[in-house]
């Protein structure tokens, strides 16, 4: 893991020299112990020792379809919507009539399989494109068998993205008093290139009273208890990882006739590092 950090430092030196001088104060090399990962190197289906699927429209959980966000897709575990191929996880949103929904896609979670507090969570992702496409790489706090409810459980969105804005991603936290529209959030805009034409690395480094957001190892935001308008719920609960591609919904708006389908999110790996001490 030393090599990885070295290469990152080297790269950032080469590209942004000033960032490199500042980086002496950045705690970016504190998370080096790999505690969990999926490299998606086994062709075929998803490793169910690491992931479980959410299926359907969420109507059983939320009372109405849309997973609480007016999303339009029906999540399946079919290979048309999710598979591992060429060393990549591929989650594909399709426009098709399926069990009453107009779109299909997939969502996987490590709930009950891998949950922890703190660490560096990172994924290398090639994002999809088009109006109304809403992929996300995020963490959700454990609900203690339903005894704690959102937003008290806490939510850390490492990466959210609107398909119609292929140069911008968003990082956020949700908790009691600062959820949904009041979430604490910041966006990152690429100065060159696009999120839908090449892979980028999305990461957080999360420790006691801080969550730092990175794109391609560039720190662009840090959230601390001082930034949230309510209780800091990220120091004692355990969180699990979620990867999904939603279609439509309140964050992104609906697809339109110019949205090309199918649209796939490609994930090279998801890795979780623990703090060095």
């Amino acid at each position: 893991m030393k090599a990885r950090v070295l290469s990152i430092v080297l790269l950032s030196c080469m590209i942004v020299f000033q960032a490199c001088t500042e980086s002496n104060n950045e705690p970016e090399n504190e998370f080096n112990t790999l505690v969990w990962s999926d490299e998606f190197d086994t062709e075929g289906s998803i490793d169910t020792t690491k992931w479980l699927f959410d299926i359907g429209t969420g109507v059983e959980i939320f009372g109405t379809p849309g997973w609480g966000n007016n999303e339009l897709q029906y999540y399946t575990d079919r290979p048309e919507n999710i598979k591992v191929e060429n060393g990549l996880l591929e989650i594909t949103a399709r426009k098709e009539n399926f069990n009453g929904s107009g779109y299909t896609s997939a969502k996987i979670l490590t709930r009950g399989l891998f949950e922890r507090t703190y660490g560096r969570y990172e994924a290398r992702i090639l994002l999809p494109f088009g109006q109304g496409i809403w992929p996300a790489f995020w963490l959700l706090g454990d609900d203690s068998n339903g005894s704690v409810i959102w937003p008290q459980i806490g939510e850390i969105d490492i990466m959210e993205y609107r398909g119609q804005q292929p140069t911008i991603i968003h990082g956020s936290v949700h908790g009691p008093g600062y959820s949904a529209g009041q979430a604490v959030t910041d966006e990152y805009s690429l100065r060159s290139g696009r999120f839908d034409s090449e892979f980028h690395v999305f990461a957080i480094e999360w420790g006691p009273d801080f969550i730092r957001y990175f794109v391609d190892d560039e720190l662009y935001n840090e959230i601390t208890p001082a930034d949230v308008n309510g209780e800091w719920v990220f120091n004692d609960n355990v969180f699990y990882i979620i990867l999904n591609v939603a279609v439509g919904g309140s964050f992104v708006g609906s697809p339109n006739s110019s949205t090309p389908f199918p649209q796939a999110m490609y994930v090279d790996y998801v890795r979780v590092y623990a703090h060095d001490n």
Binding site: F129, I168, S258
Partner: protein, 843 residues
């Protein structure tokens, strides 16, 4: 180079084609384009022309040659110079638009490392540049052309990005920039371009190429035919930086040259495709042609179904001296106005017959030197010889020949009608011959030699139009060898002589009606203005209809299959039944016919075949079709019909016993195929001045005899029964008088029957016995139910022995009065068949 430039300047370029001929001895040949070490210079115009760039205004005679100037006053970012385009006023004698290409004469450039063509632009007004782009090169090489249409200008400098469809293809390109712009709102203006260059933005993504506008096309074809793929497009997504430094993503659709595309055939043994998208059919079978750009599959494809080597029509052998040829490579054709009149205003959809440059007139396909017409999307199409060429005198000809090859499956009921029009638009007459589905051949030639007498033309000395009419039953045909000839039988005028039966005889027109137009509601007559009619043949083929005709022809009166001396006539053939609809076709919004003030219906019939005993034509009217409908009919028997002459019928509407005649939607002619060929004319309702129509008739009271003209004997039917008033079919037994009776036909359902709502209540105080004559040939129970609608009732059943007419007696025990008489023939059972009733009386 100066000399060369001048030479090219004077030759200039052709818009769209860009064909240019370089002078011999020119150092810079296009061979240079394929040489490896081309410059990668991305600049086109920064503060002046980049190296090698030259200006070529379009040489189409309309472009203003000096529309382009280098401007040192107005520039982007205060640079040294910009390009200024002065779009002329429309009436500028030096040119009516601005258009030019800028070409690199140093042999071209390698631009494969860039992904966009960018520039700053502004206008003296917020104009819209018609077309702008790059890739128009020397020698008309537009393989790598890129075109953006309708580029909106602002009056301030703004950056524009035109993505490169596929950079890897631009290893050698000389067309650096081009534009074409017309005046805006009738006035000229100026616009500036600056910092024009290729660059690598890194923000171009999401290629979505297409061909053929994304359509998947299927073509039935043959060996050696070629097709050119068109409509090459590439859509890419770009990132635009707004003035406030925020960014937005934007799709840009480009029209591009074929060179960006890679083409592929799924079956090269059937069809090949070259790098310009030209497809050549080489064998029999199926092949799908697809395209891609940079490995991204384009939407749109061509599916070729090759039938192998094309079999041409049989070569005609008739002596040319006996032929008047319209379309044949075997003869010298007479002058023809057109092989497709495109009567689109009349609803024509037919394509084809237009020929191609360098080919024989009208021939859409030439195979082995044989020109063939290919009509597609056929509904009707006319070949004209009356506008600018002499009409054809076929008086001395006996036959018409035509070869037809149907390029699709043939369904029962499909047809092609061949119609000839004489003296087009001037005492015009026409006649037609229908080629039915049993004759037409799929993917094979049908050679037709049709006696001209079959067209029933009184005169064929001035033939001006040949129509092929399929009414879209057949949509794709090849046609060849259209000619008139004389088979030596001498034929000619005089009605076709020995052609047998009435078929060859020229019919005369029906008597001209004389009823005052104010007293007429006309359905089909040239003597009156007809009401809107949905159709003169409903083609109820699902119900077993075989009848043809009543379809009319282009330019003729609606429904008229034949026009004689300006008189349109319907010609029904293969008649079993046929309906004329008014206000019943939901796709039209015609009203139904209100004949409530009318007393009679008139129709002229001309039976065009021998008449046998028992033949008939029944005229049936239906009011309120499909909605509490009532119908009635009158039958013209063999005794009153005439072979080969017109008979005029004037039938009192009361004879139809309609419940109402204010919303007549259908007129049926029913022969049950006893008569199959009949001409029909002058169908109209009229009033003879006597009391109005059926609306004034009274509802029945007992006794119900079906014989009183002042009584409306309509009955309401239920659960499937059909009811009508007819002549007593079997004058015998208990009903041995020739009179009207009620006819009840059971469908086989339980509890089906009819009822009469009486004018006055039936009062059992006046007698409790009701008798009724009933005709049945099977033993059935007959139930007579006297009732209030959905209320009190009394009922009595009596058995019929099935011996024909029997008088049944129903004894009731009631002293009440009731408004309704309901009759069930075998109410609880499921007997089918027709029964008759008569003389329902109270005793």
């Amino acid at each position: 180079m100066k000399d060369l430039n001048l030479t090219i300047m004077t030759r200039s370029l052709y818009a769209g084609l860009l064909v240019i001929f370089l002078m011999a001895g020119c150092e810079r040949s296009v061979d240079g384009l394929s040489e490896p070490s081309l410059t990668n210079n991305p600049d086109v115009f920064i503060d002046g022309f980049s190296s090698g760039l030259e200006y070529f205004p379009y040489d189409d005679g309309f472009a203003k040659l000096d529309a382009f100037q280098v401007d040192t006053e107005v520039t982007f970012d205060n640079s040294a110079a910009s390009m200024r385009i002065d779009v002329p006023n429309p009436d500028d004698p030096s040119g009516s638009y601005a258009g030019a290409a800028f070409i690199d004469l140093n042999g071209g450039r390698n631009l494969s490392e860039y992904d966009a063509f960018t520039f700053y632009a502004k206008g003296t007004k917020a104009g819209t540049i018609n077309s702008i782009g790059f890739g128009q090169g020397l020698e008309g090489n537009n393989s790598f052309e890129v075109r953006v249409d309708s580029l909106r200008l602002s009056t301030f400098w703004k950056k524009y990005v035109i993505p490169i469809p596929e950079p890897e293809k631009l290893m050698a390109i000389d067309g650096m920039f081009w534009f074409a712009e017309n005046p805006e709102d009738g006035a000229g203006y100026s616009f500036w371009i600056d910092d024009l260059k290729f660059e690598k933005l890194g923000t171009i993504a999401q290629p979505r190429p297409s061909i053929l506008n994304g359509r998947d096309i299927t073509i039935s074809s043959f060996v050696n035919l070629t097709y050119e793929i068109t409509d090459f497009q590439q859509t890419l997504n770009t990132i635009i930086t707004l003035p406030d430094e925020t960014t937005t993503a934007q799709d840009v659709m480009l029209s591009v040259g074929a060179g960006y595309f890679d083409f592929s055939s799924s079956n090269p043994a059937v069809a090949t495709v070259n790098n310009q998208g030209v497809i050549t059919v080489v064998g029999e079978g199926n092949a799908t042609i697809t395209a891609s750009v940079g490995g991204v599959q384009a939407s749109g494809s061509v599916n070729l179904i090759s039938q192998g080597t094309f079999e041409t029509a049989p070569v005609p052998t008739v002596d040319p001296d006996s032929v008047i040829s319209i379309f044949s490579d075997a003869y010298t054709n007479v002058p023809v106005d057109y092989y497709n009149g495109f009567f689109n205003g009349d609803g024509q959809t037919t394509l084809g017959g237009t020929g191609f440059e360098g080919g024989p007139p009208g021939a859409d396909i030439v195979v082995d030197g044989d020109g063939i017409i290919n009509y597609t999307e056929l509904n009707f199409v006319g070949i004209g010889t009356f506008l600018n060429v002499p009409s054809i005198d076929a008086t001395d000809m006996t036959h018409m020949h035509v070869d037809i090859n149907v390029q699709e499956g043939i369904d029962p009921g499909d047809y092609i009608t061949i119609q000839l029009l004489n003296s087009v638009g001037n005492g015009e007459t026409s006649g037609s011959v229908r080629i039915g589905s049993d004759q037409l051949l799929e993917n094979d030639w049908l050679s037709l030699d049709i006696p001209l007498a079959d067209f029933n033309l009184a005169d064929r000395s001035s033939l001006g139009l040949i129509f092929f009419v399929s009414d879209a039953t057949i949509s794709d045909i090849y046609v060849d060898n259209i000619y008139y000839y004389n088979d030596g039988s001498g034929g000619s005028n005089g009605g076709g002589g020995g052609n047998g039966g009435g078929n060859g005889a020229d019919i005369v027109t029906a008597p001209v009606p004389t009823v005052d137009p104010d007293s007429v509601v006309s359905i089909f007559s040239d003597a009156y203005t007809n009401v809107p009619v949905d159709y003169y043949n409903g083609f109820f083929n699902n119900d077993g209809q075989t009848t043809q005709g009543g379809t009319g022809f282009d330019g003729g009166p609606q429904g008229a299959d034949v026009v004689i001396n300006g008189d349109g006539i319907i010609h029904y053939t293969a008649l079993n039944f046929v309906g004329i609809g008014t206000g019943v076709d939901p796709n039209q919004s015609n009203p139904t016919v209100d004949a409530s003030e009318m007393t009679h219906i008139h129709v002229d019939l001309y039976v065009n075949e021998a008449i046998s005993n028992g033949d008939f034509i029944r005229l049936q009217l239906i009011n309120s079709v499909g909605n509490n409908e009532s119908s009635g009919s009158v039958t013209f028997s063999s005794g009153v019909l005439r072979e080969g002459e017109w008979v005029s019928f004037d039938v009192p509407l009361s004879d139809f016993n309609l419940a109402a005649q204010d919303q007549i939607g259908l007129i049926f002619f029913v022969s049950d195929a006893t008569i199959s060929d009949v001409y029909v004319d002058n169908i109209y309702y009229y009033t003879d001045g006597s009391s109005g129509g059926g609306g004034s008739k009274t509802a029945p009271n007992l006794p119900i005899t079906f014989d009183d003209d002042q009584v409306n004997y309509s009955a309401t039917t239920f659960n499937g029964t059909v009811y009508e008033v007819v002549d007593n079919p079997n004058v015998s037994g208990s009903n041995n008088t020739a009179s009207k009776v009620g006819s009840i036909t059971n469908s086989g359902a339980q509890w089906e029957g009819i009822y009469f709502d009486l004018e006055n209540n039936l009062d059992f105080g006046n007698g409790q016995t009701i008798t009724m004559d009933v005709y049945s040939t099977s033993a059935i129970p007959v139930l007579l139910k006297i009732e209030v609608d959905q209320g009190a009732f009394v009922e009595v059943a009596q058995n019929h022995s099935g011996s024909g007419w029997e008088e049944l007696t129903f004894n009731f025990t009631s002293s009440d009065s009731f408004p309704r008489v309901t009759i069930f023939m075998d109410g609880p059972g499921t007997s089918t068949g027709t029964f008759y009733i008569d003389n329902i009386q109270q005793n």
